[in-house]
Subunit: 162 residues, 2 copies
Amino acid sequence: MDRFLSNTVSRIDAKGRVSVPAHFRAVVQKRGYSELYALRCLDLPAMDVGGLDLLDRYEQRIAQEDPFLQTADDMSFFCHGDGAFLKLDQDGRITMTDFIREHTGISAEVAFVGRGNFFQIWEPGRLATYGAQARARLLQLRQGTKAHEAKAHEAKAGERSE
Amino acid sequence: MDRFLSNTVSRIDAKGRVSVPAHFRAVVQKRGYSELYALRCLDLPAMDVGGLDLLDRYEQRIAQEDPFLQTADDMSFFCHGDGAFLKLDQDGRITMTDFIREHTGISAEVAFVGRGNFFQIWEPGRLATYGAQARARLLQLRQGTKAHEAKAHEAKAGERSE
DNA sequence: TGGGATATCATGGGGCACTATGGGCGTCAA
DNA sequence: TTGACGCCCATAGTGCCCCATGATATCCCA
């Protein structure tokens, strides 16, 4: 399968390196990504990592903003900002740069989270917090607890009922 | 028959492997699943396990959302981040990874529960508790009203033992 | 109808290959 | 020189392939 799935935590070694999970590396190869790009998530303390198509996704996102406003430019600067190119060494490890650490809060351990077409890098603690929140939101959606919002999503949400 | 039916408990061996019940394996084959997709249930300490169509359904559902809104992100976070592929070894066994154990509480034994188009994996004790509660709810439903809530409470109280 | 032969299953374990992880060393630039 | 970085190797741990065993179930034939 060629999708990034599941999540793992690995330790950063004394030199600041982390092994990218073997399964993820396999996906990278299967998808033919010759290079990995890491971009700062706009609204989360995480990095999005993927191939060149990841850049397209961000450009679409930014294109949603009014080009006459400062916002679009800020967004672009923020997430493209520094060199966000990740190089896999020959043992399949990447180096956790300050660019990554600053944005994610990563220090000793890294959580890799599959997201289908790309994956994310998190500080494990923050990931747990965010994950719990995301689950709570989904549960709410499913149970249609919030009368107003639920209405809007009702038709769609009936999906997962078995 | 090509539905997952009934339930079984099997032991995990010293290497962390469990045999998937032969009957389930037959269904897997009949349905042409080449890989198994496992997903952490949103509100239960269980894993849903099925073919790739299970994942496809989620992805199609996500595609209906605005990809840059939080709902889409939450959904992807759930079905990709909390999902994994299970590999059947050639003896029809799967390995109980920490990924599964953490969510389900599984340690020494696994309960396989048929659910029609997919099946579930539980820690046997928790399954028993949950089953009792489900039966209590059904009973309450059949008896028709909230007038019998007292009864339901009684049932729950008797069977909750965590 | 009973009893053995056969197939299938659950379970255990050996062993190889690969993965994660640590560390040595040279190179290049500040 | 020092520290960041790339390249290389060593080692323990894990996953996965393959085979062996005993228990059950199924079938066939006397």
